[in-house]
Amino acid sequence: MARDITIGQYFPGKSLLHKMDPRVKIVLTLVFLVVIFLCKNFWAMGLMVAFLLGGVLISGVPFKMLLKSLKGILLIIFITAILNLFYATGGKVLLDLKFAQITDKGVYTAIFMAVRISCLIISSSLMTYTTTPTMLTDAIERLLSPLKVFKIQVNTLAMMMTLALRFIPTLIEEIDKIMNAQKARGADLESGNLIERAKALVPILVPLFVSSFRRAYELAFAMECRCYTGSNERTRMKQMKMSFLDFIFIFGIIVLLAGVILLNRFFVHLI
């Protein structure tokens, strides 16, 4: 159950996407997310999807793994599509039910929404699959460093993020262990109504909280022993540097953005 969480997972590899400067990767992913929402017709959307598929191919991450990250939100995609199918107004009426109408605009909106959400998830998972959590937080820290002007402690925030990401697998392991221990004592986690199931979580959550607090204390002591204070400016072992590769990717995204805008102009907007 807990193992299905794929956000923040890293897929080791040596592809061009892995080699990219994580700062550039984050910014380009954000730009791409905007592009996803710019697509107004099938041509533009086709170009965007093709670009994404190209990225997946370059990354070497198996498509199956990306689909796995979609699995969790399949229901959300489905519900969004259904709602859009009925709520969009205007356009030609395709089907007239007594309580609602399905118009061609509704159908298009539903399709676009489903594709958009899928692309959102796939592109952001692609980023986390090709970037180690430490690189990611490191990059975020640097991208946010201008905020220091406003007296925001960016490095503390980044440390918190690194630690949070670092402990996801540990906590998952811990949950597995506690669940097994309670199952061995006959805890029934799978059956019963909602209230019974919620009650059945108590034997798992209490030990989990207790051990999380213990872990947090131990970690804090260990960090203090190594003279971590959080305030002073720390230097880095690995300096990030943009390379030729990064400029190629930036160029690629600019081409995509231009292409999508042009296609939007030349062809009819569907939504």
Binding site: I178, N180, Q182, R185, G186, P203, P207
Partner: protein
Amino acid sequence: MPVISLRNVTHTYGEGLPISVSAIKDINLDIESGELVGIIGHTGSGKSTLVQHLNGLLKPTSGSVFIDGEDIWAKKGNIRQVRFKVGLCFQYPEYQLFEETVFKDIAFGPKNMGLSKEETEKSVLAAAKYVGLKPELLSKSPFDLSGGEKRRAAIAGVMAMNPKILILDEPTAGLDPKGRQEILSMIKHYQRTTGSTVLLVSHSMEDVASVATKILVMNKSRLAMYDSVENVFSRADELQKMGLTVPQITRIFIGLKEKGIDVETDVYTVKEGYRRLLSMLKGGER
């Protein structure tokens, strides 16, 4: 009839993925009722995976597990009953404590079994007695206990289900020598008085040698040996090749024999070694 039987049991983690690992391979095993089996093996040899198959926490990728002659995966919805019959106590079990009082925590298992209030109380008190928890501790919060007491309370939580088979995964891990000895003799005492079958997973040869009636050796996901204590320790060379050793005292006796002193090498506890040496020195001849 053996109380535990495994037939060609194999378990593969992450089957179908490129990173799949077989944690145990083709295990065939029969354990008779009333034995105290010491399970030893290197880290990653498959000990923990093996014991998790016995109470149905893991389902074998192939092969079958029989408890009391019954295939535990044959009938659906049977697994909870199996877990009451085969009590499994994990490594560092004190992290499973969660209730407000020690009593309530120990009663978690019996309550899940659906026992009546009187029966639950009876088995909780009995279990607390087996592990040597003082009655006044039962009303305390489990989080106020000392480390050793927490360990005992957690073990009692499994014993309170009166399982026919009790499995303990490294029950002495992280305890001081005195604590280890206490836990081990408590396990031995429990096994003698209840007549149940006990499986004890351990790293320490000394621990196993002092209490077990039989020893099961796991090596590289396979069952390497399952035999009486004497027979296993007489194969010291093979054990050494697996990166395991016989108890220190046995090594001393083997060394003595190699030096040409006429001693038998079937000595597994310090007490026994002491007695042998003393009688040898006293009598001049053995």
